[in-house]
Amino acid sequence: MLSIKDLRASVDGKEILKGINLEIKPGEVHAIMGPNGSGKSTLSHVLSGRDGYEVTGGSVTYNGGDLFELEAHERARAGVFLAFQYPVEIPGVNNMYFLKAAVNAKREQEGKPEMDSMEFLTLVREKMGLLKMKPDFLHRNVNEGFSGGEKKRNEILQMAMLEPNLCLLDETDSGLDIDALQIVAEGVNALRSPERSFVVVTHYQRLLDYIVPDFVHVLAHGRIVKSGGRELALELEEKGYGWIEEQAA
């Protein structure tokens, strides 16, 4: 599904990613952990095509093609989804309108007809039920005045509607209380399937109690310094990041 080889990227001339290697197969859940400033968010932004990052080396192959050949919106239509750490407010733009525009952009790409309003509404209501979202959610403006928990649930709702192949979750647990975290995690777990892969970027292992990963990677100073299974996250929880950073240095 996704093959990252020796990926290097910089921001304003400063190298942040210094040679990342990662193989992700369909259906796998990979957690990327690491201290602040290790390059976790940069990795998810580079993969989703955000402006302002310069890829200086290496390659990323997505479903057999060069990911960097695609613009951000083309990646989204090809099934890459980024759940934001800080979802953005768009004043005056209706949540349902936004969601429908996104869904239909993807359908257009796939050569499918636009989803009509009834069909869309039925589908979105079903997904909202799953995430315990109130119906008025659809009629509010995109993320405007949403609580932290509502914003994150909105991200997962978008993910559920867009049915991506590759889901990048950037610090989805930040700013969530335990109840909201559970709801969000349930939403994510409901989307797990043999075809769909996840990259879960997180600082804390707490999220991984709910979204159980197949692999855990530790990112430090722009490189993956240690990889392991579920138990690595627990070890990190206990010992912190210091020992790994020392080992790597």
Partner: protein, 482 residues
Amino acid sequence: MSSTAQELDHLIGKEYKEGFVTDIEAETFDPGLDEDVIRRLSAIKQEPEWLLEWRLEAFRHWQTMVGPDWAKLDVPPIDYQALSYYSAPKSKKDGPKSLDEVDPKLLETYEKLGIPLEERAALAGVAVDAVFDSVSVATTFKDKLNEAGVIFCSFSEAVREHPELVRQYLGTVVPQGDNFFAALNSAVFSDGSFIYIPKGTRCPMELSTYFRINAANTGQFERTLIVADEGSYVSYLEGCTAPRRDENQLHAAVVELVALDNAQIKYSTVQNWYPGDENGKGGIYNFVTKRAECRGVNSKVSWTQVETGSAITWKYPSCVLKGDNSVGEFYSVALSTLKQQADTGTKMIHIGKNTSSTIISKGISAMRGSNAYRGLVKVTKGADNARNYTQCDSLLMGDRCAAHTFPYMEVANPTAQVEHEATTSKISDDQLFYCTSRGISEEDAVSMIVNGFCKEVIKELPMEFAVEAQKLLGVSLEGSVG
């Protein structure tokens, strides 16, 4: 950020699809302006003596005046002797009695602009007065309006058919010598629309005027007068376009609205004059005086404007709230992209008791556009319990555009409550990326964000116009973000 700015520069491709020229034989005055020109103009229109005198008075006053220089605009000098003050398609010398007599080329022009004049093809529920250069070429649904007692015709026709009404109200809201451009207009105005809604009548359909400038080197000086008699209601829309030309063209209009006791006027504008190119070449100078007088008790006037065109816009649709409990509203979206300049806003003059006004202004600046909001809220001594709420929001795209806000308040009554809120924001990279990361193209994202920003104003427009305005905002911004 810098990469975004470069792309902003790179992708300049604003499509002005109304920029075509209609090839039609016209009777056009030679350039130049003196009393003889005004006499000839008045004679062609078969005007009564009092109106000619009124024009000449305005002209003499105008000659003593200088153009305004206080706006945040860079206006190149205008040679008023180099302009022609009258141009009319030849076939329309005496005015066609019905659509069958209108030159097919003109019908075609309006068809192309999306304004079919044949009643069966026209938008149901909207009557249109089509003004082409200096004359009105057709007014639709006249019979239906006649039945309701509503007068909707070209200004010239009103002068001929309803001289007493015109004389009673003309210049009572915007006096001849009000300002430089109003004085010029009073001297040389050519055509426009006249509307009279009788007592207790709710106008059965939307009334609309479509202004088209076609001839080169010609000024358009439209004059519109709307009178809503006691207890009546009317919703009026105006649209404007012009061909793409390298020379600047002058459009100096005057619009006067009068609302008597318990009357309501809703006036909407979608202004899409040719804006010029990205280097500021060509485009319309839109110097317009629009004012409403809420003369009667409980009267109400709402101005809604979406201004996307013109090289320079100088325009302050205002309300004089004379009647007790009268209400004035101003909802505005002004977009300046390319090298456009806009200095626009409103004046709310509170005179009667318990008067209230609302001002919602949304300014959008992109590329090298400059946008200024200028507004006055004035509460006079006797205006007990006056209320005003003003909200001015500016949205910037890129880093070469500008937004300014000049709110003025003069309050002479201690019971007044005047509120002002202002914000300036940028379409952030975050917002754009958020949309693109959901598969929405950057152009669609910009259009979506801008329309969201303008929503409070767009929703004030009648349905057909709202859709039009949303599209126009999208098209106007096409290519302004890469």
